[in-house]
Subunit: 317 residues, 2 copies
């Protein structure tokens, strides 16, 4: 029976060693066992084993701010010597003064200008190099670790566990698609074509006989909330059977994944561990979790308590 | 050496049995051997072995008209009983009369209306079912074969050959992405997430408690000409090392793929076989091949003569 095979598999070797025993871990293993048991009532052929993961706050840290925002602020500081006019002009003035409240006060207009200046106006290859160089050395302000070490060990194990059960795992993030792609394969084992994210417009041009793709200062697609199922359809073309997130921005992705036919799985990471990470949910600027926390359990979603369900938060601790 | 290993591999078993010996077949085998020979000067790691294929006229027939256009015309005929007003209104009048010249005379306006009526106004799941049902039974007007049998046997072998050499093969087509996805895995072994195509806008909604993705009557993205490198960046996030097409709509895709660093490969299928298929190029309405035919050889692209280079055109002949 399914129950015996779970026990058997877990006895052999625990695929999720950083997870404490408990309902969430058991729910994950039960789901994977059910959909991979040939001849069982919940069997899903490998071609349909699609799983989608949010990134910020689900696979890696999003506090004290989104990593991509830290990248944008660093870029402004790097570029500032060539732009003396910035010291009297918002949103640059606030950024250069390290005044996040002042930056927030510039509103959407300020953020759009920040994205345009730091993420557009270069070729796609140039942006990839900028992002690659930055992520190789930039450090988290609290821990001093590389951002790519600020990933959640239990979630890395979960991605590996799904891969080893013939799932195809995609990132579906509100973050910029080209900001993530330079490092997702190395850090998560997820190749560039399995990364879905927000994007700006681009154009193909031949300049001096050399083809380039230019990044333009205009938003193309916002992969958040209702955008996540749309991004999933556009990139993957199939409804996931499992989806993993941590905020209300993931509500629609989990709703879409778990309302399909057959066995489905939805999981929300709840950041309730103020000692080992940061405790935040309903009132957080980054990764607000409110509606999904209230409605998730009624929809059959598994709510993971970082504090209680994870033995370890980051790798190598 | 590379040369000896090619000879050795081909002697063992020919991966391209429907290709006649000659320069194009040799160029394909030389390329694949070069990029897969570990320690060789042209070696490419599996993660970067990305190949992109156009669909219409490259993997399957596009004469006497694009298959998707035949689908749209059939849909109009199916829907006509519910729309008595259509018999006096263009573009429906021409479609129902089987008058393709009349349809062409309605111009872009007519085509846009046709797409809106036949491809939008339903959910994504509903459209998938419509396309799946149609492709299961619709027959090619000349041969009476299923459209999914009107695929090119030598190209199927080429896709398999690349797969067996750890390439990830993508379709990058001007055709509708959701029109192709229902059958590409079965016919080509290419799963939904490796299909890039043109798309219309969609919206995510919850209707009576059930989430759906609605297809809207507005173009979102045209995956043709300059759109192909843009679609490749958006979906794949890496520049292909090999690209395969048959018309001027593929020029930019091949240009983008073959202008990257290292060993690259571009191939154009030239439809010059009036006996076994249809001979067409510079003046064709569907699959016009002019600029790429003139400039391709100078850019190092391989031009395949269907007549001379293919032993067989369709499977099972
Ligand atoms: Ca998140
Ligand atoms: Ca074509």
């Amino acid at each position: 029976t399914a129950c015996m095979s779970v026990t058997g598999a877990m006895a052999q070797s625990d695929p999720l060693p950083s997870w404490n025993d408990g309902a969430p871990k058991q729910a994950i293993v039960d789901f994977v066992t059910a959909v991979t048991t040939e001849g069982g009532p919940d069997y899903v052929a490998p071609t349909d084993r699609i799983a989608t993961f949010d990134n910020d706050g689900t696979l890696w840290s999003e506090q004290p701010m989104y990593v991509q925002l830290a990248f944008a602020l660093d870029r402004i500081k790097q570029m500032a010597p060539d732009h003396p006019e910035w010291k009297d002009k918002e949103p640059y003035k606030s950024v250069l003064a390290g005044d996040l409240k002042g930056l927030a006060a510039t509103g959407e207009k300020g953020v759009v200008e920040l994205v345009a200046v730091t993420h557009a106006g270069m070729t796609s290859d140039e942006f990839t190099k900028i992002a690659t160089d930055w992520i190789a050395t930039a450090k988290h302000p609290k821990t001093g670790r590389l951002y790519t070490d600020m990933v959640y060990q239990p979630m890395l194990e979960l991605v590996d566990y799904l891969h080893s059960n013939d799932f195809r795992v995609f990132i579906v993030s509100g973050g910029g698609i080209e900001f993530m792609r330079p490092w997702t394969e190395k850090v998560y084992g997820i190749p560039t074509e399995r990364v879905v994210g927000s994007s700006i417009k681009t154009e193909y041009k031949v300049v001096d006989g050399k083809p380039v793709i230019n990044r333009l200062p205009a938003v193309d697609f916002v992969d958040d909330k209702e955008g996540k199922p749309i991004g999933i359809l556009g990139h993957i073309g199939k409804r996931p059977i499992a989806a993993f997130g941590n905020s209300d921005g993931d509500f629609q992705m989990l709703q879409w994944a778990t309302s399909g036919d057959g066995k489905r799985f939805g999981l929300i990471v709840h950041h309730d561990d103020g000692d080992r990470e940061v405790a935040y949910d309903r009132k957080s600027v980054f990764g607000k979790l409110d509606k999904a926390l209230d409605e998730g359990p009624g929809l059959g979603w598994t709510i993971v308590s970082m504090k209680n369900d994870w033995k370890q938060v980051y790798p190598g601790q």
